[in-house]
């Protein structure tokens, strides 16, 4: 069947979610206030490590308007402890109690929960909770944590080393010994936090009459939360509904199960009243999962012409106090060593990963997961090698990229890269920047004493991961499928329902584009529902750059199934062979005879009008549910180039130009792809220059406000120039590749390399991010006195 409607896939369609969000009619968790609702507040630990000797809630309970107080013991009686299991022995499984049980392991850990008639009263009551703590020695960093003399945070693990994993291919020691040049560095990527503009929150409602639990949550993964609540609360899956319609940003921060979600459910179930908790910014900075905090000791061996002979690295991640569900403590360090070889041919590799527990907030998934540090490291090493060999940084990359004829290419960590545009993206980025002109400009600037630099970063990531491998290494939860239900009503309008959830990515628009194309209706006739386990087919949610690939693939399959049936019905109505039916101007017509046609709504009406309107034996109705499993996943790559200038007086880094050439395969909506790149790059620039979570020697959070944790404003972010290559993925339906995380993967390395290039006359390398003005001042001061 030919489809000659204007193709929506590939078009810059304005977003369908915008009108409600622009007019204040979004439906975020905090916008809901059912009758009889109570407000919750949490008491959080002021200690980094302490035994809880006693909790006295009597004064709090005596306050007017206070309904109940829960402690760790109360929760333990109502819910199983959260344990992020792993299939591999490399990861030790530990418990994460929703409210501290016996001891606290980081500042900000939830200790007790109050429910009261208002948020103000709940917070008053928290002030009246008396907790007796017996402080324990603070495990401040990974070195201390690995010292046998230090206390063990999780007694059942017997060690603070929760993750130890190694990937190896070839004789790396021999390769490095024989290399013409080995560059070495100890890289440090400090702790980062996602900062969604909407703080985390949830609203639980337990209807005693129907034994039905409804949880509205600022969650990326409603299906995943529903599944685990079933287990933890001992409730049947069909009695739990998790809803996350409008969510104010996620970036991975809202992809994990959180203690407050469980505690709020327990409170609501116990009281038979709706209970809402909305975290404030302090709670977000104290308790939302954080990122990176890794030390990477790495060595790269190259021949005289710059070709790589071997790479050896050890990653040590400070995973904080808890292994988070379902991703486990392995997610950051193991992803880092998995992606360290980058888009290059690395014949010999050994990567070791360690995840070490300390008294800090838990590490979790954040935009890029492991890849931003991995790219910072490998791209930093490539530049060091290029500088020492006198090779242009773009040239050394071109010499080492996995070549077009090498695809599919199995990386040393076992990832298979399908046909991608590693070389193409760098060549195009050079053109887009006018690389030679930029180098000439730099030479002039240098001659005038200015610190101007150009930084390049190329990367490849794995997106749209199917059932062959877990999204997080060793994770037993299956994340390999998503489904779509496409349903016509008798009037010819379409409702498409998905198990994924949108929190800014515009999936209501992009998935509607795909559905509309598949079934041959205008986009206005398609309504996309998502983020509600009550209405959607089985699915987990949105994370790991998967939703467009998996849900989009499911939409194609379901759309095809519906279209097949429409052809049968159209053939019946037109008394023609269904094989001769084609879609012209939104009508199903007999091929070559546009006068013999039926409108979509006539087909839809016929589908619901009984046997006489339908071909013999055809089941009435017009809907289909299809699951899609891309099995392995698909590569997604880009090259970023930054031009920066370092101010002599203030050490401020100004980004003068920023060019991205990305390849996400077939683009569904270039407007949205651009927006994802812009936002990702801005987060990467923040990570490179400004944003750092800082704990003091007592494990106290020093960056506990947005004055101390510096998120870039519009003034710190440049205009970005985004270009696209469209190499259709050979392994996904539709040829789509995931791309929501990429901006953040490339930007830290590009900025770091640009700064190192600017300061090359001083012999300064950038081995530590963020390279804030004070760090830069010290680096420059050490060279210039």
């Amino acid at each position: 069947m030919g489809v000659d409607l204007p193709r929506l896939v590939g078009a810059r369609v304005a977003r369908r979610e915008d009108p409600r969000l622009l007019t204040g009619q979004g439906s975020y968790v905090d916008d809901h206030r059912p009758a009889r609702m109570l407000y919750a507040a949490f008491l959080r630990s002021p200690h980094a490590h302490a035994r809880i000797a006693r909790i006295d809630a009597s004064a709090a309970l005596a306050l007017p308007g206070v309904a109940a107080v829960l402690t760790g013991e109360d929760i333990a009686r109502a819910a199983k402890p959260v344990r992020a299991e792993s299939k591999t022995p490399d990861v030790k499984t530990t418990s994460f109690p929703p409210l501290a049980l016996g001891k606290v392991r980081h500042v900000g850990e939830a200790v007790a929960m109050v429910a009261a008639e208002s948020r103000y009263l709940a917070e008053d009551a928290v002030e009246h909770l008396a907790v007796e703590y017996e402080p324990l020695p603070v495990v401040r960093n990974t070195d201390e944590a690995l010292d046998p003399a230090s206390p063990v945070l999780h007694e059942d693990a017997g060690t603070n080393l929760l993750v130890a994993r190694e990937f190896a291919r070839g004789d790396v020691d021999g390769a490095l010994a024989g290399a013409a040049l080995v560059v070495r560095e100890r890289f440090r990527f400090h702790r980062h936090t996602p900062v969604c503009m909407e703080n985390r929150g949830c609203l639980a409602d337990y209807a005693t009459g129907s034994a039905m639990l409804t949880l509205r949550s600022s969650a990326q993964c409603p299906g995943l939360v529903r599944d685990v609540l079933t287990d933890l609360l001992g409730m049947p899956e069909h009695q739990i509904r998790v809803v996350a319609t409008d969510v104010g940003g996620g970036f991975g921060a809202k992809a994990s199960l959180y203690p407050e979600e469980i505690a709020t459910c327990v409170m609501a179930r116990r009281l038979g009243r709706p209970v809402k908790w909305i975290g404030d910014r302090r709670e977000d900075l104290l308790s939302t999962t954080q990122a990176w905090d890794e030390i990477v000791e790495a060595e790269l061996g190259v021949n005289r012409d710059g070709t790589i002979v071997g790479l050896r690295a050890r990653v040590t991640a400070d995973i904080g106090a808890y292994s988070i569900y379902p991703w486990t403590a392995a997610i950051e360090p193991v992803q880092t060593i998995s992606f360290l070889p980058g888009p290059y041919r690395v014949p010999a590799y050994r990567g070791q990963a360690r995840g070490v527990a300390t008294c800090k907030a838990p590490l979790g998934p954040y935009r890029g997961v492991g890849r931003p540090p991995a790219v910072f490291v490998i791209e930093g090493l490539m530049d060091r090698a290029a500088r020492q060999l006198g090779i242009d940084p773009t040239e050394i990359r071109l010499r080492n990229f996995i070549r077009d004829e090498d695809f599919p290419y199995k990386s040393p960590s076992g990832i298979v890269w399908d046909r991608s545009s590693f070389t193409g993206s760098l060549v195009k980025a050079r053109e887009a920047l006018d690389y030679q002109a930029a180098r000439d400009e730099q030479a002039k600037a240098r001659a005038a004493g200015r610190w101007l630099g150009i930084g390049v970063a190329s990367y490849v990531e794995l997106t749209g991961i199917g059932s062959a491998i877990p999204v997080s290494p060793g994770m037993p939860v299956s994340t390999g499928t998503e489904a779509a239900t496409i349903r016509f009503d008798p009037a010819g309008k379409v409702t498409a329902v998905f198990g994924v959830a949108s929190h800014g990515q515009g999936l209501e628009t992009t998935l509607a584009q795909i559905v509309a194309d598949e079934v041959g209706v205008p986009i206005a006739d398609v309504r996309v529902l998502h983020g509600d386990t009550e209405v959607s087919p089985y699915g987990t949610g949105t994370y790991a750059s998967r939703s467009l690939v998996l849900a989009g693939g499911a939409a194609i399959l379901a759309g095809r199934a519906v279209r097949e049936k429409m052809l049968l019905i159209a053939g019946h109505l037109l008394e023609a062979d269904p094989a001769d039916i084609t879609l012209i101007d939104g009508r199903y017509a007999v091929r070559g005879m546009p006068d013999r046609s039926v409108a979509v709504r006539q087909i839809a009406r016929a589908a619901y009008s009984g046997a006489r309107q339908l071909p013999k034996g055809l089941e009435p109705g017009l809907e289909a549910t299809k699951f899609y499993d891309p099995y392995y996943g698909t590569a997604s790559n880009a090259t970023h180039v930054a031009v920066v200038e370092v101010d002599h007086a203030t050490c401020e880094v100004k980004t003068l130009r920023y060019v991205v050439v990305e390849d996400c395969g077939r683009m569904v909506n270039p407007l949205i792809v651009d927006g994802q790149v812009h936002g990702g790059v801005a987060q990467g620039i923040g990570a490179a220059l400004l944003e750092e979570i800082v704990y003091d020697d007592h494990g106290q959070l020093l960056s506990g406000t947005l004055m101390d944790y510096v998120v870039p404003s519009a003034c710190e972010i440049p205009m970005m120039e985004v270009h696209h290559l469209e190499t259709p993925s050979p392994v996904t339906l539709g040829g789509f590749r995931g791309m929501g995380e990429g901006g953040t993967i490339g930007a830290p390395a590009a900025i770091a390399n640009a700064i190192a290039d600017a300061l090359a006359p001083l012999g300064i390398e950038v081995a530590e991010l963020p390279v804030s003005p004070d760090r830069l001042f010290r680096l420059i001061g050490a060279r210039t006195g």
């Binding site: 409008d246 929190h503 003034c715």
Partner: protein, 157 residues
Amino acid sequence: MVTVRLNVNGVAHEGRCEPRKLLVDFIREDLGLTGTHVGCEHGICGACTIMFNGEAARSCIMLAVQADGAELATVEGLMRDGKLHPLQEAFREHHGLQCGFCTPGMLMTALDFLRTNPAPSDREIREGISAVLCRCTGYQGIVNAVRAAAPILASGR
């Protein structure tokens, strides 16, 4: 409890609340106008920005009682006769929003900025909107939207 009388988007309201109640909580809970968002409660992120007697202000660091007798405008008041405000249109056209959480505060801030600077440069736009943090857009769509809306708003004045 104290009585607060104010005008929001041209409609008179009266409510009773504790003297300590934040203006943003009063707007959201007592008046039911949930378009104004709470992002940090310490005056940095700007998600709660409203118009207070004609100027942009952060409703998370004001008390409701301070608004007694004031004229407020919130995001709910921008749409007229079922049509988006030209600034809202520009945000949609230029993809100036993703998750939408900062958007109400961003719109009110940009509106106030364009009132005082009807023909801004890009640099001035960036400074003008730097009072509101957005984590999704990298500001590019927002800057483009404000630039595009500026002449439309100026000509309508």
